[in-house]
Symmetry: C2
Subunit: 195 residues, 2 copies
Amino acid sequence: MDWRNYSEQELPPVLAAALACFVEQGYHGTTIREVAGRAGLSVPGIYHHYSSKHALLEGIVQRAMTDLYQRSEAALAEAGPGVEERFRLLIECLVLFHAHRSEHAFIAASEIRSLQDDARAAHIAARDRQQLLLTGVVNDGVSAGVFATPYPAESARAVITMCTGVAQWYRSAGELSPEDLAARYVVITRAAMGS
Amino acid sequence: MDWRNYSEQELPPVLAAALACFVEQGYHGTTIREVAGRAGLSVPGIYHHYSSKHALLEGIVQRAMTDLYQRSEAALAEAGPGVEERFRLLIECLVLFHAHRSEHAFIAASEIRSLQDDARAAHIAARDRQQLLLTGVVNDGVSAGVFATPYPAESARAVITMCTGVAQWYRSAGELSPEDLAARYVVITRAAMGS
């Protein structure tokens, strides 16, 4: 997998239509009819693929988490065993994802509250698994004496929110490309770790 | 103003009821009837104070931005002229606010999209004014040679999202008090600046 490549659309048309509606009006403010209209389908046409509005949100959130995790694993595989390179590529991966997929990531983060029961539990497990990748690298770096931060847990959390926060403000019309932004965030986050 | 004191409720009852509804169901998913029910008022009783659901959101967002700005100015006044102390107290102020007022800050950030026209413009102006406080301190620190970051603009932005991100995950049941968290964030953000 080329974890730096975002040239392909990641969502099937129905989910892409639902995402656009959720971005504009929120999950609770969106009707299946609006999703159908935007997707160019009938309401039964939507229900043929997704049993409910909740299933649409679940599909959107699930794909975001799976995509990010697979890219992160590919980045770490490319990095090899060195902790500094692992940190560097993982930050690059996080920033690229949250800049290229800012709307998708924004909904996955802000509509967690709208996920029910099993879907919510599954999302939290996926998020924890994702966060463990970075906390693992940070802890390895502290053990190896590469990172001097006295607060590994809070530093890792702070760096994660710094990177996921990109989805809140980054728009492709920004001055920096996602790639340039990622390179700068590598410098800033390494400094935050006391590297 | 005691910018570290969060013992008082900041919202009048009607806005507090609206905030609770928006947190649970989003702005678009909330009806005036639900807000009235939670506030223990009739629907006309709500309209007596607020002309629309939008006016409720506007009131919530406006108060968050005003409260944070007044606290930030008080923190900077306490800090005096030294750039390191200004940075330190401003970070403390940002973290305390986003930990103590996490729900309020979460809605102010995630429902900007739901603000219309003038209210949206006013919010963006308030947010820019707020961000200028930190970018000003960072630029002063870089000029004075106190901060070594090669990317002042991105570092300031990253630090702001790090602090505002606290509202997304901090719950009072967390292990660290807002005060302890703020102290750790001062260390982490100073490192991020290359201090």
